[in-house]
């Protein structure tokens, strides 16, 4: 067994050397396979990357989960003011029912609700804190905690009603309420449903195109494997003439198939990811579209495994067929 393994290793080395010298004309085949792998990667990764931005679209779209009105509703009254700090507008909010207000906004906070002389700060305001205090209109307020999310409260200052009154801000009062039986506010069609429907349709289309590409990739793998197997015939005949067993030849060719597939898939991955990142970057610079970095996801890994398997199986089967024909 040991002797056979050593013999097999030598045979594999010989095969690899022949391949590296260009005897099997691998370059074109590897490039063709890589090109299709890259198309599959681009499709999968770009759709995943754009889908990852969907929550932002949801945030941008009017999401009728929360209703704000100047008319008194059966909701929470919230006093809203603002200050300009460092060229940025900072929201100052106060309410007699801060617990309900934060719950309505699905806020995630670290710390406790502010009492008199305290402030609950959006997380982006952290750099403005000195010695655990935040200065507002000359009054030093003790920081009671931070609002980590949602985004629209990340630059806001939340105060207790009493603190707000002491600071004497000019303000407007709004009434907030959860979406429910409020009839006056309605969208037809709903932005959120529309985004979800469009995303779902795009996903379906992407999925169909991905299947077409996977089929094309399988076909290309078979064609390239056929071409490589044909090119290797002369070398295989010579090796058989030199007393190499068919089993050893098949094993060596299997290792060669794995390496060729690995290189083709790695190259496809490289072309796909680089091409996608470069084109997205160019679109971002020249057309102002957001730069979407290729996303590393399970879908990407699945496509890579599929491509590797398809290429490896096609090569192994056609190599084995070639050996059997000899």
């Amino acid at each position: 067994m040991g002797f056979s393994l050593l013999k097999n290793l030598r045979l594999t080395q010989f095969m690899l050397a022949a391949a590296a010298r260009g005897e099997f004309k691998l370059t074109q085949s590897i490039l063709a396979t890589a090109l299709f792998v890259s198309l599959l990667i681009v499709l999968t990764v770009s759709s995943q990357a754009y889908l990852s931005q969907l929550p932002i679209l949801e945030e941008i779209a009017i999401k009728p989960a929360l209703i704000a009105s100047k008319e008194p509703l059966k909701g929470i009254a919230i006093k809203i003011s603002y200050i300009k700090l460092n060229s940025n507008f900072i929201l100052i909010l106060a309410s007699s029912n801060l617990t309900a207000f934060l719950k309505l906004n699905q806020a995630n906070i670290d710390g406790k609700l502010p009492s008199f002389g305290e402030a609950l700060l959006g997380v982006k305001l952290k750099p403005l804190i000195e010695n655990s205090t935040f200065t507002l209109k000359g009054l030093n307020l003790k920081v009671s905690g931070f609002i980590n999310s949602p985004e629209h409260l990340s630059s806001a200052v939340i105060l207790a009603d009493s603190t707000f009154e002491k600071l004497n801000f000019s303000y407007e009062c709004f009434y907030l309420k959860e979406e429910g039986d409020f009839q006056a506010f309605a969208q037809a069609p709903s932005s959120l449903s529309l985004i979800k429907a469009v995303a779902s349709e795009i996903l379906k289309m992407v999925s169909s195109i991905a299947w077409v590409l996977r089929s094309a990739l399988t076909l290309i793998c078979l064609m390239q494997a056929y071409s490589i197997a044909k090119e290797s015939r002369k070398t295989l005949k010579m090796l058989l003439a030199l007393n190499a067993s068919k089993i050893n030849l098949t094993l060596s060719l299997t290792i060669l198939a794995l390496l060729i597939s690995g290189i083709a898939v790695a190259l496809g991955y490289a072309i796909g990811l680089t091409g996608l990142a470069l084109s997205s970057s160019a679109l971002s610079i020249f057309y102002g579209l957001p730069y979407i970095k290729p996303l590393a996801s399970y879908a990407l890994i699945k496509e890579l495994i599929f491509a590797l398997t398809a290429s490896f199986l096609a090569l192994t089967i056609l190599f084995a067929n070639e050996v059997l024909k000899l």
């Binding site: 050397a17 391949a19 370059t27 490289a270 680089t274 290729p294 990407l300």
Partner: protein, 499 residues
């Protein structure tokens, strides 16, 4: 003939001394990192105890060098800091020797070191003249290229240089790690092809370096996760893609995508220009828009180095280095147009600059073969490159990154007044003040006059403020009308303190 040799000698002296230029010009170390490292070195000497806690302590080569020089000489700390730019200047010696190993003539090799020193793409002096971790490891990068390319390769020497690089800086070490990985890949293929390249030696060196790199950097990364929080899974996916593409595109010597047509190098050059002068990054910088004359300078520098690379990339070591530096430059750009992306781009250009210099050497070699006209063209090109780079150098010497002796002296003079008090200032102040007077800077906003100080250096009232990598116009922080409300506590040519 003697005059010719003297000119060559003077060229070497100029290239070695050029990184010292910011110090000679301004009388103080270049960029704020200098103060951090000087403080670490002084504290270590005083306590005889070195800590590996902070980011600037985790890659200790620069600190060790400063401690060593301080311990064996009685020079002032500010003077000892210049060992770092001096060592960066020495980068040209291994580079020259490497060029000679690549069979470049003496004159072409000198052209290469001149191109490195007077690189028109980016201001070399802002890197080589700076007292920072990466600069301290730069001469080791060119030494590594030389050591690898030596006929009687000494593995121990390579690993020793590698250890220096790993202890020097993470980005430099990453460049060499990628270089070794690609070299190992090429070595396997060369071995299969029957070409001469010692696979065993390359694999031993690559493995040795990878082990040292991984142990040191993974350990540091885990300790400094907060500092490196900008690295995401998608970045870890993108970098290998660029390495594979770059290595594959330079492997072959024939065809449309081959070492003879290094398209990716050209792309890297273009995006470097776009990144540096295209205003595409989300950063404010006090630089005027690109002019047609700058475009001419870039076009000429690009043509010179990129055409040269088409001839240069026959050598396998150079191919591996080119793949590493190109992939890192592309990665830096594709990381995103954020301040961190800009930092990465600048870092990658230090290594890409070495490659372009080698390309320029090969181009000049070709020109010099064209008798008299070629020689005149080569000389004109070199002189033009020096001229073209002078604008960037001048900007850097007078920019917000440079400190002046007057500023340092003024800060030391005010030390006893402000020590222990709260002060406001920009990034420049936040580096210098903790070194000079043991006070910490609160940043710039919101400014409060009550029991606090506002520190302005000369460039602040002339050019504006530096906050991180962002340049902020003075009036965005404080107008003259607002400033009048503060009491002027110190007023000198270089420093004003309001309180």
């Amino acid at each position: 003939m003697n005059a010719y040799r003297s000119i060559k000698f003077l060229t070497f002296i100029l290239c070695i001394a050029f990184p010292l230029f910011p110090f000679l010009f301004n009388g103080a170390p270049y960029i704020g990192d200098a103060w951090i490292h000087l403080k670490i070195a002084e504290e270590t000497l005083a306590s005889s105890h070195y800590q590996l806690i902070d980011y600037n302590e985790k890659w200790p080569l620069i600190n060790f060098l400063l401690i060593f020089i301080m311990a064996v000489t009685s020079l002032k700390p500010i003077l000892t800091s210049q060992i770092i730019p001096f060592l960066a200047g020495l980068t040209i010696l291994p580079l020259y020797a490497f060029c000679r190993r690549l069979k470049l003539s003496e004159d072409s090799s000198i052209a290469a070191i001149l191109f490195l020193t007077f690189n028109p793409l980016y201001s070399y002096v802002t890197f080589a003249g700076a007292v920072m971790k990466e600069t301290a490891a730069y001469y080791l990068i060119s030494s590594m290229l030389l050591a690898i390319a030596l006929n009687n390769l000494k593995k121990a020497l390579v690993l020793l240089i590698g250890l220096g690089i790993v202890l020097g800086h993470h980005f430099g070490a990453l460049t060499i790690l990628i270089f070794f990985s690609i070299l190992a890949f090429y070595a396997i293929l060369y071995k299969l092809k029957g070409k001469e390249l010692s696979l065993k030696n390359v694999l031993i060196m690559a493995l040795g370096f990878t082990i040292v790199f991984s142990i040191w950097n993974i350990n540091n990364y885990l300790a400094l996760r907060q500092v490196f929080s900008f690295i995401k899974a998608e970045d870890l996916a993108l970098l290998p893609a660029l390495i594979i593409l770059s290595a594959y595109s330079l492997y072959s010597d024939k065809g449309l995508f081959s070492a003879r047509k290094p398209w990716l190098a050209a792309l890297a050059f273009l995006i470097s220009v776009l990144g540096l002068r295209g205003g595409v990054y989300a950063l404010l910088q006090p630089t005027p828009p690109i002019t047609i004359w700058e475009v001419r300078n870039y076009a000429l520098a690009g043509a010179l180095s990129l055409i040269g690379l088409a001839y240069a990339l026959k050598n396998v070591y150079l191919k591996a280095y080119a793949s590493a530096s190109i992939s890192l430059t592309l990665f830096a750009f594709l990381y995103g147009l954020t301040p961190i992306g800009f930092t990465l781009l600048i870092k990658s250009l230090h290594y890409f600059g070495l490659l372009l210099a080698l390309g320029a050497g090969f181009f000049i070699q070709k020109l010099l073969k064209q008798k008299l006209l070629g020689k005149i063209s080569a000389l004109s090109l070199i002189l033009f490159i020096i001229y073209a780079s002078s604008f960037g150098t001048a900007l850097a010497l007078n920019g917000l990154g440079a400190y002046r002796a007057g500023e340092v002296q003024a800060v030391f003079a005010t030390k006893r007044f402000i020590e222990g008090l709260k002060a406001y200032g920009d990034t420049r102040a936040s580096y210098l003040l903790p070194y000079a007077s043991n006070i910490s800077i609160q940043g710039l906003k919101p400014l409060k006059s009550e029991k606090s100080f506002f520190i302005l250096f000369k460039p602040n009232w002339e050019q504006g403020f530096l906050i991180g990598y962002d340049w902020i116009p003075k009036n965005s922080i404080i107008t003259d009308e607002e400033l009048i409300k503060w009491n002027k506590l110190w007023d000198s040519l270089y420093l004003k303190i309001y309180g």
